[in-house]
Amino acid sequence: MTSMTNRVAPRKGKPLDVWRWVGRIFLVLMLLYTAVPMIWMLLTSIKSGFAAMQFPPQWWPNEPTLASYQRLLDPTNSVGQDFLRFFWNSLFVSTATTILAVIVAVPAAYAFSRFEFPGRNFLFFAVLLRNMFPAVIFLVPLFILMRLLGLVNTHGSLILTYLTFGLPLAIWLLKGFYDNIPYQLEQAARIDGATRFKAFMLIVMPLSAPGIIATAIYSFIGAWNEYIFAYTFLNRNDKLTLPVGIQRFFSENTTDFPGLMAASFMMSLPVVVLFLLLQRYFVRALTEGAVKH
């Protein structure tokens, strides 16, 4: 008996270690592959214009400088004015898209998850159907539609478009979250004296918070990075969003690599921050221990 209980799971010898190392090396390579362009972007953004053009390139800037950032963030010069305006426009469009997406997706996903109604499966399929076509094929029709509605050159055109493309996945994502929250919790709350709506707000909402946050971040990033529709629907300089604005501005100032890289870096900042938040919320398994398994 003792020999049985003392026996530990047999450790595999050399072959396993070899594969483990192959895996590690692969991971490091992948990490370099994704991180090097980002690091290069950051390093270039703190070079002087002259240093950035040198060949062979300087890997590490000899005289690092924050001049590019100062210029972009200074509202008194024209570069800074434009950049801050684009930033604000992007922020407005993305935030509005996100808020509306959550307001629509939460009840829609909840209904798909909880209610039996005629045509439920068909509707859900229709929602997902949108995702089977590349967005670009809707570009021209949507442009014509926007012109008819007088929405060209407004942020509304973008917000509407982003909602159309973002909502299907948002609803699908959230439905998954609601499916995982046991219905008995709401039943218990209703017996405990809550209305259906109160049970939703007090019990289901807090539990689906990670899902809602993930959905919001997904909508935000989608809107923040979108280029083609923004490029097509907007042409007034004061309306442009960051991706289009940066592209347009620097095609006129082709040599300012540090400026371009600084602008790109600042554009990626909100996304990076949101991703850090996302990680935190995805890991939390809140419904654990809710019901007997």
Partner: protein, 365 residues
């Protein structure tokens, strides 16, 4: 507290009838146990009473009010869910306080009631924990506590003790019974465990396949099961059910087994057998009503011991008769060997007779 009246209650899922024409009255302050095999519609019936699922047809009244269209929160019920349904994001304290908060009780009163309930359920030290930090048994006690803090018209409990260990179960059983006596609470209690039903309930409702089979006091259900299902479902070890044939020998009704033996019947039992629709009759007997003899006796049926299971208190002997297993209990000092010939004497007063076709208990008149 209030009485509950179910009238012709039906719940269908598509073509499937989960609850089938159930009519049942639970008296004010009565403790009713709902028993039956898995999938027989116990939880569905509770959910219908609670208003958590819409009824297909029929009527539910709580107190003197028909509640068919009343929202769960306005039915004045408390429920313990089979899978606990604890609010995972709330501490034990807040789980217990939630129903009281919903009813807008003053904070001090909520605090007092929560702490009282925690003391009764022996979980004062757990109040700050989250449900996922509790064992299954502890979670179940919280679920029970969330119902006990309330003062509703009816308690609905769906297997509230199923996940506790034997000792805790016995302890909680008496707590609930005590609680019922003190509060004169109306309780509808679903359980798999017939011992729970028999020890706690004033009346028990036996269900099968969505149908209510029998609704009576545990003693009556035990002594007079209405059909073979109830007979075999209630009692442990299960009642032995032996297929036999009804015959008339010399003008007297007798039963004959597949082995060729004949059993004479008392006048009452003979009258019952004459009411059978077929010659096929099933003889039912509980282990304690069969006498085991080691020598041939008049009126005793010859058999052979098949297995012998001493349990300490009693020894169970199994024998085969007419292809059915017959359970007999004997005192532990009676030593029977497997394959030993034995003679079985059935107590005419306490044997059960069923119609072999309809499986319904035969009546004398």
């Amino acid at each position: 507290m209030a009485h509950v009246v179910l009238t012709d209650l039906v719940k269908t899922y598509g073509n499937f009838k989960a609850v089938n024409d159930v009519t049942l009255t639970v008296g004010d302050g009565e403790f009713v146990a709902l028993v039956g095999p898995s999938g027989c519609g116990k939880t569905t019936t509770l959910n219908l009473i609670a208003g958590l699922i819409p009824i297909t047809s029929g009527e539910i009244a709580i107190g003197d009010r028909v509640v068919n269209d009343v929202d769960p929160k306005d039915r004045d019920i408390a429920m313990v869910f089979q899978n606990y349904a604890l609010y995972p994001q709330k501490s034990v304290y807040k789980n217990l306080a939630f129903p009281l908060q919903m009813r807008k009780l003053p904070r001090a009163e909520i605090d007092r009631k929560v702490k009282d309930a925690a003391r009764v359920l022996d979980m004062t030290h757990l109040l700050e924990r989250k449900p996922r930090e509790l064992s299954g048994g502890q979670q179940q006690r919280v679920a029970l506590g969330r119902a006990l803090v309330r003062d509703p018209a009816v308690f609905l409990m769906d297997e509230p003790l199923s996940n506790l260990d034997a000792k805790l179960r016995v302890q909680m059983r008496s707590e609930i019974k005590r609680f019922h006596q003190d509060l004169k609470a109306t309780i509808i209690y679903v359980t798999h465990d017939q011992l729970e039903a028999v020890t706690m309930a004033d009346r028990m409702a036996v269900m099968k396949g969505g149908f209510l089979q029998q609704y009576d006091s545990p003693a009556q259900v035990f002594a007079h099961p209405v059909n073979m299902f109830v007979a075999s479902f209630i009692g442990s070890p299960a009642m032995s059910l032996i297929p036999v044939e009804a015959r008339t020998v010399d003008g007297r009704a007798v039963l004959t087994g597949a082995e060729g033996w004949t059993m004479a019947l008392s006048p009452l039992n003979a009258r019952k057998v004459r009411n059978s629709t077929t010659k096929k009759v099933v003889l039912g007997a509980r282990h304690s009503t069969i006498k085991l003899h080691r020598n041939a006796m008049p009126d005793a049926i010859p058999a052979k011991a098949y297995t012998v299971e001493p349990t300490g208190d009693v020894t169970f002997v199994q024998a085969l008769l007419s292809g059915a297993t017959v359970n007999i209990s004997v005192p532990p000092n009676v030593v029977v060997q497997p394959d030993e010939p034995i003679w079985l004497e059935f107590d005419q007063e306490r044997l059960h007779l069923f119609d072999g076709e309809t499986e319904i208990a035969l009546m004398a008149d």
